[in-house]
């Protein structure tokens, strides 16, 4: 898994690629929490380049989302149709998160 971040005005966008799974989720959480602990409030996870997200990966997204919400922040997700969107639907998490198809829609 790889994470690249870039800033678009006041939103910090994390582009994730590879597998967000039980092996990589620790690294994912640690990386994101560094930014949350620095006080970043508006985060976006771009999962359009992710090969798959397992339940361990979903837990990482939930954990970071809760930490962000606890300090008044907001998380948006970019998820394309396909297997990644399917796991969000299966687990009911598609109704919890703000999910968009494209970066443009998420930033609007």
């Amino acid at each position: 898994m790889e994470i690249k971040e870039k800033k678009d005005s006041n939103t910090l966008i994390f582009s994730v690629s590879g597998r967000l799974d039980a092996t990589s989720v620790g690294q994912f959480e640690k990386h994101i929490m560094e930014f949350i602990n620095k006080g970043e409030k508006k985060l976006m996870f771009d999962l359009s380049g992710v090969e798959y997200v397992s339940s361990a990966g979903l837990r990482g997204i939930l954990t970071t989302s809760k930490a962000l919400k606890a300090q008044g922040g907001e998380l948006r997700l970019i998820v394309c149709a396909g297997p990644v969107m399917e796991v969000f639907k299966i687990t009911g998490l598609s109704s919890i998160f703000k999910i968009f198809n494209t970066l443009e829609a998420a930033l609007a």
């Binding site: 397992s54 297997p83 990644v84 399917e86 796991v87 299966i90 687990t91 919890i96």
Partner: protein, 139 residues
């Protein structure tokens, strides 16, 4: 039933990638779409991580993964461990209607396995847990 590939390794998270790479390569060779391959990988991971975490109660043990095809119609990922008797299919499913604050962040794996696969079969034989993730090649 034809075995496409097989691996037996210690039931440790360090070996997850090796197992998933094997499952992925077999699913690609059988002709599944990239989306379906991802779904198969996710289901295999859910079962394997559960074995890594719980099957041997902190002691050492092995897990074996066999990729099989049956009459060219079914692709089967068979996961075998010699740990405590456990049927993942009988595990309780989480309440997926709860909001973010109340969400229990465990137990999602079982939902994924049941929903992503065409069929899942469990049996206990010779003190082994044998779980089969089954995908129809037409799906």
């Amino acid at each position: 039933m034809t075995t496409l590939d097989s691996k037996k390794l210690p039931a440790k998270l360090d070996n997850l990638e090796t197992f998933i790479d094997m499952v992925s390569a077999c699913a690609v060779n059988v002709g599944f779409t990239p989306d379906k391959v991802s779904s198969i990988n996710v289901a295999a991971e859910e079962v394997l991580v559960n074995v890594f975490n719980y099957a041997y109660g902190g002691l050492d043990g092995d897990v074996e993964v066999n990729c099989l095809v049956d009459n060219s119609e079914m692709f089967i990922v068979e996961i075998v461990d010699s740990g405590i008797s456990f049927n993942i299919l009988s595990a309780e499913e989480p309440d997926i209607t709860l909001g973010l604050e109340d969400r229990y962040i465990g137990g999602l794996g079982i939902l994924m396995i049941k929903n992503l696969m065409d069929d899942v079969k469990y049996h206990r034989n010779n003190d082994k847990n044998i779980l089969q993730l089954i995908c129809l090649k037409k799906s």
